[in-house]
Symmetry: C2
Subunit: 565 residues, 2 copies
C-alpha cells in the first residue's frame, strides 16, 4: 500500500509515524516544499524571545533526536522529499505530480491514499507598503530567524505589530522591553478578539499597558510608508500615523488549499478543505488534516477553522488509523485556545458569550476571581474565570480564563466537562484534587460554577465589571458600596462618583447607613465579600443590590481606562 | 428557624455561612469543643515544616480576616460557642445538651435542624508505650504546635513516623533533613497504600530514600519503649527495633460518631455516620457531613470513608441548601486524593487496580511517562501516569500520578472524565489547551489514553516495570533491548542479566541481531521509543516483544531496589 503525504510539519509526520506502526509494509512518502520538517511551530515565538536559544531545538524529539530526513528514513522507514512541491493531483490515475525545487525536475508519485497536510500561510493584507523589506510575518523558522536577526543587527527600537490575535500578542510579549518599544494595532475593539470576550480581554490589555506596550484598538491600518532601504517609517491608520521602524503582520493565517482546489475537492465555507468526520475529503482516497482542513465545533456541529498543533497531531493519528482500516472518527474541536503572554495564562474553550447569543441560547455569564493554591501556601496567584451558561438549563457553554495563576488547568477541567454537556451543578460537585499547593478547598472552578448557579436561580444579583462600566457611562445613579477592610481601602481606594465604605464586618450593624439608590453595587477585592454583602442587604430588604463579579481584581482594569480617558 | 451545628472546623462553618446567605432570619448556632474554629487543617503539615510561618494564617480568610468567634458573630450573624461540647441529642424534643468546658455548666439548645459536623480523631493503636509523652499525632493546630516545639527545643535528631499514608508522608517530608533523620514504618508493603498502587508507590519510595528517609515496609510496630522522661528510646517491630527519640502516629483517623451513635443514628459499615444522598441521617431533621460521615463512591455506588476538606466544604453547602428547602443531592466522591511531598505531585482518582479487579472488571492498565510542558520550553518536569480501564469497554476506571511535574492538572481532567463514564478514545480526543508552557501537543493524558487503547486493541504489548520485575524474579529468560542513544546508555547504563543495546535509529537495519528469546522487552527513557521499537520488531514477525511502559523513568525505582537487595 502506497501512502503519499503532502506536508511535513505536524499532521504529515504524525500520519507517517502512526501509519508505519500500524502497517509495517506500507510504502510511505512525505512531500515537503520547505527545507525542514516536523518542527514545533508553537515554539517559534519562544525562539524570537530567546526562551528557546536555538531554532534546532524545535526539531528535536523529547529525547534529543533530530527529526530530519535521515531520522524519518532510518527510524520510521518513511521516505521524505524536502524542497519538493506537490503541484497537482490526478485523482483518476491516483498520482501526485511533484517538482523538486532545487533541480526543477518533476516526478509523478502514485498513491493508494493521499493525505493533504499542506498547512497554512500567514495572511498579509494587500496594503500599500506591505512589500517593504522590514515588513515581516512569523510563521516558520525562517521568518523567526530573519526577524530576530533584523531586530538585533539593525538595533530596531520600535516595532509595530498589526493584529492582536494569539500570535500578535505572543510577538508583542517577547519583543517588548526597555530597549524596544512595541505598538500593537488591532482593528477590533479589544485584544484577542477571536479568543476572549471584551471583558476578559480588558485584563490582558491592562497588563500589556503596564508592560509599556502601546495598544491601539479599533485601529485600522491603511498603509505603510517607508524609505528606499525598505525600513518602515510610518504606519498610517484611521487613528493617525505611528512612527515605527519595523512591522510584523499577525492578522491570522489562511489554509493552503490550492492543491486541493485544483483537484476539484470541496473547500468549505470557512475557506479550508472540507472533510467528513473520518477526515476524508469527498474523494475516499484523499484525507486532509491540520491547518489546511476545517473542523467541526462540538458545541454547534458547524464547521470552524481553528488551526492548532494539538488538533493537527490528533488528526494525524486518526487519518493513519483510517488508512489502516480502523474506521475512527475525529469528534471535532471545542474551540479551545490557550497562550501565555505578559505573565498571564490566557485561554478559552467552548462558545464565547457572543457566539452563544448568536446561537439563540438564553445566555447567563459570571466572572469569578480566585487563587490557584491555598492563600496560606507560599506561592499562589490569582485567576479570573468567566463562565458562559444556558440560563434555562444551567448547562455550561463556554469558559475563559486570564491571570497570573494557573488558569489553564481549570480550563482543561472545563474542556472535559463541556464534552459531556455538563451543568453548573455538576461542576460544583466535581471531586477535584485538593491540597494546599494545588487549589483552594473549593477550587475557583467550583466556586465560579456555584456563583453562577446562584445568579441563575436568582439568589443574588451579580454585575460584571463590563456592565458596571456601561451603567456608569450611561449616567445611571449607582452607589458603589466598598466592603473591604480599612487598610485595603487606604492602599487602593475605589474611584467612582458615589462610593460608600462600610467594612463587611460592620455591615450588619451599619446597613441602615446605605442610602436609597436605584442601583447599589457591593465591591471587594475578589468578589467574595461583596457577594456576602449583597446577601446581607437583600436580607434586609434592599432588592436593588448587586455585587461586582470578580471584584477590584477585574474592575481596576476598567478604572484605569476611565482615569486615562 | 433554628439550626444547631455541632463542629466548627470545615463543614460546620460552611453550613452556617451558606445558610445565613440563604436564610437571613435563621437562628444559627455553632457548637465547637475546641478553642479555635474554621481553620485550614490541610495546612497544618505546612506549619510543621515552616512553609506557613504562623498557625494563625490557617484561620484567616483569603482577604486576611480572622475567622474567629467575633467574625462569625459580626459578619455572618452566627452564634459560636467554643469550648463547648455537645453531649447528647434528644431527637423527640429536638434539643441538644451542651457542656461549657471552661465553666462546667450545661445548657439545652432547641433546634429545627441539627447538623453533625463532629469531624474525626487520629487513631492511636493501643500498643505498649503509646502513652509516652514524646508520642504525637498531627491532627489539629495544638498537635502541630506541640510537635514543632518539642522537635526544636529538645533538639530531636531522630523521628519515627508510624504509617505511610497521606499524613505520614507529609510529616516525613517536612521533618526529614540533614539534622533530623526520619524513619517511616508502614505495615503494608508499599507507601501510600490507600492512595497508590504498588507500582506507582515505588516511585515515591525511591524519592523518599534519595532524600535520606529510612523507609520500612511490611513493618508492624509492636511496642514503644521509653525512659522516665517520656522520651521514646526504641520502636519495637516485627523487623527488629528502631532507635528513635520521638514517634508520630499517622495511621489514619476515625470518625467522631459517639454523639450520633448515642442518639440512635445509624453508623454505616465504614464506621462513619450513614447519610442519604441529601446528606440526611435517618432523622430527617439531622444532617451529617465532613469527616464524621460516610460518602458514596460514584464508581461503585458503595459507601466509603474518605475524609477530605474539599468534600467537607461541598457537603456543607449542600446541607445548607437542603435546610433552606432547595432539595439538592451530593453525588458522592470519586476517590480523589492528592498531595505534594518530597517534591513530587502525587494523586489518584477513581478505582485502584485492585479495587477494579475486586469489582469484577476485566482490568487493563497502562503506565505512561511524559512532560508537563513542551520539552523545548525552559521549564518542564516529568509525570508518570497510570491509567486503569475496563478491557472490555475501554472505559476509564481510575488514574494515578506521581512525579515532579504537574500531574494534578492531569488528574483533575481525569476526575472530570470519570464522572461521565468516559472511554480511552474519548480522552484521546479531548480538545485540551496546548501551548508550549502548558503541555506537549499530545498531552500525557492523551498519550497515556492512546497507549492504553493500543494495548487494549492488541496493537502492541506493554509490560509494566512491576511485571518486568516479577518476570525477572521468577527467573524467566528476558532480553532487555535498550534502544536509547549511545550517550544515554553511557551515562545511565541499564542493569540486568541480558541486555542488548541497539539505538532505535539503527534497529531497522540491525533487527536481525536480536536473538530469539522467549520474552524481549524494549526499553528507553520514557517508553515512547521502546514502544516504537516493539512495533518495528513485531513488524518483522517477532510477536514475543513487549515494551517497558513508562521507561527507565519508572524502571530505575525497581533497579535500585534490586541493587540494594
Amino acid at each position: 500500500m502506497k501512502a503519499v503525504i503532502v506536508g511535513g510539519v505536524a499532521t504529515g509526520p504524525k500520519v507517517a509515524a502512526r501509519l508505519r506502526r500500524l502497517k509495517p509494509d506500507a510504502d510511505i512518502t512525505i512531500v515537503e516544499q520547505g527545507n525542514v520538517i516536523s518542527y514545533g511551530a508553537c515554539g517559534i515565538p519562544l525562539y524570537l524571545g530567546s526562551l528557546v536559544p536555538e531554532l534546532e531545538e524545535l526539531t528535536l524529539t523529547a529525547s534529543g533526536q533530530k527529526r530530519d530526513v535521515a531520522f524519518f528514513q532510518g527510524q520510521k522507514d518513511v521516505r521524505v522529499l524536502t524542497n519538493t512541491r506537490a503541484i497537482s493531483i490526478d485523482r483518476a490515475a491516483k498520482t501526485v505530480s511533484v517538482r523538486h525545487l532545487l533541480s526543477g525536475e518533476e516526478d509523478t508519485l502514485p498513491y493508494d491514499y493521499l493525505v493533504l497536510a499542506t498547512g497554512s500561510r500567514p495572511y498579509v493584507p494587500p496594503l500599500p507598503g506591505a512589500g517593504l523589506s522590514k515588513v515581516f510575518t512569523l510563521h516558520d523558522p525562517d521568518d523567526a530567524e530573519q526577524l530576530k536577526r533584523t531586530v538585533k543587527e539593525e538595533k530596531i527600537r520600535h516595532v509595530t505589530v498589526i493584529g492582536a490575535g494569539l500570535i500578535g500578542i505572543e510577538i508583542a510579549d517577547v519583543l517588548a522591553g526597555p530597549r524596544l518599544k512595541v505598538t500593537v494595532c488591532e482593528s477590533q475593539n479589544h485584544v484577542l478578539p477571536r479568543l476572549l470576550d471584551p471583558d476578559m480581554a480588558k485584563l490582558l490589555e491592562r497588563q500589556m499597558k503596564h508592560r509599556g506596550v502601546d495598544v491601539r484598538l479599533g485601529c485600522k491600518v491603511k498603509a505603510l510608508e517607508g524609505d528606499d532601504t525598505g525600513a518602515v517609517g510610518q504606519v498610517l491608520t484611521d487613528q493617525g500615523q505611528i512612527e515605527t521602524e519595523l512591522v510584523v503582520f499577525a492578522v491570522g493565517v489562511r489554509p493552503a488549499i490550492e492543491l486541493a482546489q485544483a483537484a476539484g475537492l470541496t473547500i468549505g465555507e470557512t475557506g479550508a478543505i472540507r472533510v467528513n468526520e473520518s477526515l476524508q475529503t469527498e474523494d475516499p482516497c484523499i484525507y486532509a488534516g491540520g491547518d489546511c482542513a476545517e473542523q467541526t465545533h462540538v458545541m454547534t456541529g458547524k464547521p470552524v477553522y481553528i488551526p492548532l498543533a494539538s488538533t493537527a497531531n490528533k488528526q494525524g493519528r486518526i487519518i493513519a488509523n483510517n488508512i489502516a482500516g480502523k474506521n475512527e472518527v475525529f469528534p471535532g474541536v471545542a474551540g479551545t485556545s490557550v497562550l501565555q503572554a505578559f505573565d498571564f495564562n490566557i485561554g478559552r474553550t467552548g462558545l464565547s458569550e457572543a457566539e452563544a447569543c448568536d446561537l439563540g441560547y438564553k445566555v447567563i455569564t459570571g466572572v469569578a476571581s480566585g487563587l490557584d493554591a491555598a492563600h496560606f501556601y507560599p506561592m499562589h496567584s490569582s485567576i479570573v474565570l468567566k463562565l458562559i451558561a444556558d440560563e434555562t438549563s444551567g448547562r455550561l457553554l463556554g469558559a475563559q480564563v486570564c491571570g497570573l495563576g494557573d488558569g489553564i488547568k481549570r480550563l482543561d477541567i472545563l474542556v472535559t466537562a463541556l464534552k459531556f454537556g455538563t451543568t453548573l451543578v455538576d461542576i460544583g460537585n466535581l471531586d477535584l484534587g485538593y491540597a494546599p499547593p494545588f487549589a483552594t478547598p473549593l477550587d475557583v472552578v467550583v466556586h465560579g460554577a456555584n456563583a453562577l448557579e446562584n445568579k441563575r436561580l436568582g439568589l443574588v444579583r451579580g454585575l460584571s465589571a463590563f456592565e458596571l462600566q456601561e451603567s456608569l457611562r450611561t449616567g445611571e445613579e449607582v452607589l458603589l458600596l466598598d466592603v473591604r477592610k480599612e487598610d485595603e481601602v487606604e492602599s487602593n481606594p475605589l474611584a467612582g462618583p458615589q462610593v460608600l465604605h462600610i467594612p463587611l464586618g460592620q455591615l450588619r450593624k451599619r446597613w441602615q447607613e446605605v442610602p436609597a439608590f436605584r442601583r447599589i453595587v457591593t465591591v471587594c477585592e475578589m468578589g467574595i465579600r461583596a457577594y456576602e454583602a449583597a446577601c446581607i442587604l437583600r436580607g434586609k430588604g434592599l432588592a436593588q443590590v448587586a455585587y461586582l463579579e470578580g471584584g477590584i481584581a477585574v474592575w481596576s482594569a476598567y478604572q484605569e481606562e476611565e482615569q486615562r480617558s
